[in-house]
């Protein structure tokens, strides 16, 4: 990283120096041409004086013109032949034109190089800053479960606890560890998203099957939290997406819904889908804690956690919905969040392009 930067800066300096040199060279050539033309004119002026001297000495104009072919004598006055004068002017103009064209071309090319390198350097600086911000945020996110773990362990070390109290602390520590593990997974996922936009595939996938797989996975947890998940997705709805991305998106949306319902001690999550023109829409409606309508857009930003208390045992990392948003965006899809307000539940709508020729 550092070596690349040094290289880029060196090239930038070289290009700038070259541009200055080209400019200097141009001015120099221009000056030299004028100098040459001036020297030629001086030489011709001497010939004119010589012709005048010859004429004054009584040499015939014909003889003078023979001796000095570039001079013509009209009415007894020697002057420079018009075609010679014209040739000098043309030569001067020609050279100036040549330098102007060549010079501007080189300067333009070098200017473009400078712009490209400067842009790359700026972009790199921005990436670096983003990474630093990301690291600061990530380390901050880790400190809370770490503090909780340390507190639980030190409590166990400091105090004599009943079996029940120990059990509570152990459960709490396990949940903290699970939270940290989830954070690591999501941070890796989001880091991959930031880097590799290229691996994104687009193939026809049956939405119902993909959702069913995730639901099966989460059903046990939902049952424990007394949350009913209902699925109303007709078979044969195909979306164009990346299989892994579809799985991650649906899982994150459902985990978010579970986390929103859990604090209320139970409730429901309803999934439904429909085909709309060239798109397929999946709605996930939950009876959870909801959010202020004004916070709808902020939900998808990195590390936004509107309900830190949401989700018994499972804590938001502030990355889940960010990942959903990025993945939907990468796959030419959309996601939006709706809620009437805190305590009113929420609805998330995911929209994918329908897979070509697969729609029933």
């Amino acid at each position: 990283m550092k070596a690349t930067r040094v290289f880029q800066l060196t090239v930038l300096v070289l290009v700038v120096v070259s541009a200055v040199q080209v400019g200097w060279w141009l001015l120099d050539r221009h000056a030299q041409t004028h100098e040459k033309v001036r020297a030629a004119r001086t030489a011709y002026a001497e010939q004119i004086s010589a012709a005048q001297a010859l004429l004054d000495a009584g040499t015939s104009p014909q003889r003078v013109q023979q001796l000095l072919p570039q001079i013509i004598v009209a009415d007894g006055h020697p002057t420079l032949a018009p075609q010679v004068d014209e040739a000098l002017r043309t030569e001067e103009r020609h050279r100036d034109n040549q330098y102007a064209w060549e010079g501007s071309f080189f300067l333009l090319a070098l200017g473009a190089c400078i712009a490209v390198i400067a842009r790359a350097l700026r972009a790199e600086a921005r990436v670096l800053e983003e990474q630093e911000n990301f690291l600061a945020l990530v380390s901050h996110q880790f400190k809370t479960p770490l503090a909780s773990l340390q507190l639980s362990l030190e409590t166990m070390a400091l105090r004599t606890l009943s079996a029940e109290q120990s059990r509570t602390l152990i459960d709490r520590m396990l949940a903290d560890l699970a939270r940290m593990e989830a954070m690591v997974t999501q941070i890796l996922e989001s880091a991959r998203l930031e880097r590799g936009r290229v691996e994104f595939k687009s193939e026809p996938l049956e939405l119902g099957a993909a959702v069913a797989r995730v639901v099966t996975h989460l059903e046990e947890r939902a049952r424990q939290e007394r949350i009913r998940i209902s699925c109303d997705i007709e078979p044969g709805l195909y979306v164009a997406s990346d299989p892994l991305a579809l799985d991650v998106v649906v899982r994150n949306i459902l985990e978010n819904a579970l986390a929103a319902v859990t604090p209320l001690g139970g409730g429901s999550i309803a999934l439904s889908a429909r085909a709309l023109n060239a798109e397929v829409e999946l709605s996930v409606r939950d009876s959870g804690v909801g959010f202020r309508p004004a916070d709808g857009a902020r939900l998808f930003e990195r590390f936004t956690r509107l309900h830190p208390r949401g989700g018994g045992g499972h804590y938001g990392t502030g990355l889940g919905l960010f990942i959903v948003h990025r993945l939907m965006h990468l796959g030419q899809g959309r996601v939006s969040a709706h809620s009437e307000g805190v305590g009113q539940g929420a609805k998330f709508v995911l929209t994918w392009p329908a897979a070509q020729g697969q729609r029933s």
């Binding site: 809370t144 340390q150 409590t155 400091l158 105090r159 509107l306």
Partner: protein, 242 residues
């Protein structure tokens, strides 16, 4: 000075349920009465209705952050001591916390015993301050035309100007007044008023003395009440130096 914290009420403002529960259980095990709030607004609402001896305040809260909560409290004239807990432990944040009116600052993850010690130390300092300002005679200090009300953190200066004292200014004044005529070292002042290594330097004490002089001396450049004892500390004279 009450050695037992039994019945002393502490408000824990922390958005992380595990951390809140852990802190609460430990404080309860030490004999404190504990209430919790999950965010700044909830904490401010609770504090409008009820009082407590100490607020353990997380900095990164949803909505108004901990610094904002502390500032709001101070603006409302609530002088309840605040112990900040934060995931950010850099010096800039530390200073911000103390500037917003906090008493102490602990970075996450923290050691349980250190946390409990700090809680105890803050409460002890305030216990002393309150009991030292409990009677009519000790609640008000008069010197050189100034009148300081230790319970209201208010004062009227010799020129009739009303003054709002910060807790630290009031505490320093209290320590000096208790030892009027005697020399009090900077270290003693630090120990009595801050207790811990919150401020690493005794220069801080000097700054507070400068502020007190500006508030109460007719000519702050030639103090008659807050005298510097070179190389040692300060001496307070209520009568004023002749």
């Amino acid at each position: 000075m009450s050695a037992m914290p039994s019945g002393t009420r502490v408000l824990v403002v922390e958005d992380d349920p595990h951390l809140a529960a852990g802190v609460m259980e430990n404080l309860r095990a030490e004999g404190y009465e504990v209430n919790t709030a999950g965010d700044g607004e909830q904490a401010l609402a609770w504090l409008r209705e009820q009082g407590c001896a100490l607020i353990v305040l997380d900095v990164m809260l949803p909505g108004i952050d901990g610094f904002g909560v502390c500032r709001t409290l101070r603006e409302q004239g609530n002088n309840t001591p605040v112990l900040f807990l934060t995931a950010r432990g850099d010096p800039v944040d530390r200073v911000r916390g103390l500037e917003s009116g906090g008493d102490d600052y602990l970075a996450k993850p923290f050691h349980l015993q250190e946390f409990l010690l700090r809680v105890r130390a803050i409460l002890r300092r305030w216990d002393w301050y309150r009991s030292a300002s409990a009677t009519a005679a000790t609640a008000v200090l008069r010197f050189g035309g100034n009148e300081v009300d230790f319970r209201a953190f208010r004062a009227r200066a010799w020129n009739g100007e009303g003054q709002e004292l910060t807790e630290k200014e009031a505490m320093i004044l209290k320590v000096l007044a208790e030892h009027a005529g005697e020399i009090v070292s900077r270290e003693d002042l630090l120990e009595r008023v801050w207790g811990y290594d919150v401020f690493p330097s005794t220069r801080t004490v000097d700054n507070f003395i400068l502020r007190l002089r500006k508030r109460f001396e007719k000519d702050p450049a030639r103090p008659r009440h807050f005298l510097t004892v070179w190389g040692v500390g300060y001496r307070f004279l209520s009568e004023g130096e002749p």
